[in-house]
């Protein structure tokens, strides 16, 4: 199992959002704009990498019966650290993402990777896995956020592309629009994957 493979799988084949379909709660909630997607993705990536490294390092110390509480303590600690540091150094981003940062704790991606990967593999592999999964999560969130912001607010990364009076699809700014967007993007991902598989078979 090469390092590259461990990293790349999070980007496409095992993409947390589009493939594993875990952690959808924050995905639907924060992606009303592209910047929110980038911010949430970056924060989750940081927590995911740190917790993966630590859990992997402690994998022979933690008794298996209390592994879940140990994982939660580690993940909650890093989430709180991100919350405080972001509030201090990036107050603007924190104002937008504030209520979602504590929710990183209950994001299934973190528990999922800790249980399925980090607790069984060496530190370096766990770090690469966490980074790949985090970046996969980030690009997925950014893509969803971009689509929703374009359609819902007529802007991109905060820059208005249409006039203030132009009508936009307000539904894409709110929860139903998130479901619709994720549905269409999932369909597109599946289509691309099927095509790729076909061409590789033919070749």
């Amino acid at each position: 199992m090469g390092i590259v493979k461990e990293f790349v799988k999070g980007l496409w084949n095992d993409n947390p959002t589009f493939r594993l379909q875990i952690g959808l709660c924050p995905t639907l909630a924060v992606t009303s704009s592209a910047l929110n997607g980038v911010g949430m993705g970056a924060a989750t990536t940081f927590v995911l990498m740190c917790s993966s490294i630590l859990i992997s390092a402690l994998r022979n110390v933690i008794p298996s019966k209390v592994r879940i509480p140990c994982f939660i303590v580690v993940i909650a600690t890093f989430s709180t650290v991100v919350d405080l540091v972001m509030n201090a150094l990036l107050p603007d981003l924190h104002r937008v993402l504030g209520i979602f940062i504590p929710l990183i704790v209950v994001n299934c991606i973190l528990m999922g990777r800790a249980e399925a990967f980090a607790s069984k593999r060496p530190v370096f592999d766990a770090a690469i896995d966490g980074l790949g999964m985090g970046i996969g999560f980030t690009w997925a969130l950014t893509l969803i956020g971009t689509v929703r912001e374009l359609l819902g607010a007529g802007s991109l990364f905060g820059y208005k592309l249409v006039s203030d009076t132009a009508a936009t699809f307000g539904i894409f700014s709110v929860a139903p629009g998130a479901f619709i967007t994720v549905g269409f993007l999932l369909a597109a991902m599946n289509m691309i994957s099927t095509r790729l598989r076909k061409t590789s078979k033919e070749a």
């Binding site: 009303s32 008794p63 019966k65 303590v73 580690v74 909650a76 405080l84 107050p91 203030d164």
Partner: protein
């Protein structure tokens, strides 16, 4: 037996280390966070009170600034939470600014209203924090909505449908801001008068 002891020790050690780390990070960030909030509040006051270079928190709180009523166990409504007095570069009073709070669609909306010392008219309004629907209620932040309050005095009705136009699709948010302005205005003005 041995295993249960190990379980307890490992979990306890991890929890202790985590507590220590969090205490350290909190110690480091709490000062910066408080500074950020103060700076943000200052720049908001400068924005709603043009010409202001220095602000002071007013000590005299309005009589409605009561947190809890112990007899009924119900929270008494707060019409305004903070009042600032602004000074210009010659140290003359420019006016006062008060923080108002209203119940919006997605939670509390906190606004800051600047009032001119001479005319008693509103000079500007800034939205400090809100959790309204993006694209609908969030338009309370836009100048075209906020500027409707400029020039209003205590004699104006300041009510949606009378002299304030609600945002399309965001009646609750518009009403919350308007209520916050109207209710805070009288109490803040009274408290400001008492302090002069």
């Amino acid at each position: 037996m041995n295993e249960s002891v190990r379980m307890i020790v490992v979990l306890a050690v991890i929890a202790m280390l985590s507590g220590g780390l969090l205490a350290g990070v909190y110690e480091w960030t709490s000062g910066i966070i408080a500074e950020n909030e103060l700076r943000e509040m200052q720049s908001s006051v400068f924005q709603v009170l043009p010409g202001t270079v220095r602000i002071e928190l007013l000590d005299t709180a309005p009589s409605t600034l009561v947190e809890d009523d112990p007899t009924t166990m119900r929270e008494v409504e707060q019409t305004t939470t903070q009042i600032f007095v602004g000074y210009d570069d010659r140290d003359d009073v420019t006016g006062f600014a008060f923080v108002g709070e209203g119940a919006g669609y997605g939670g509390a909306i906190r606004i800051l209203v600047g009032v001119d010392d001479n005319s008693g008219a509103i000079l500007g309004l800034a939205v400090l924090s809100h959790s309204e629907t993006p694209g609908l209620g969030s338009k309370i932040e836009e100048a075209s909505f906020r500027n409707q309050f400029v020039g209003k005095t205590l004699d104006d009705p300041i009510a949606v449908g009378k002299d304030i136009n609600a945002l399309t699709g965001a009646t609750v948010s518009s009403r919350a801001v308007t209520e916050a302005v109207r209710r805070g205005f009288a109490d803040a003005a009274a408290a400001y008068e008492r302090s002069r």
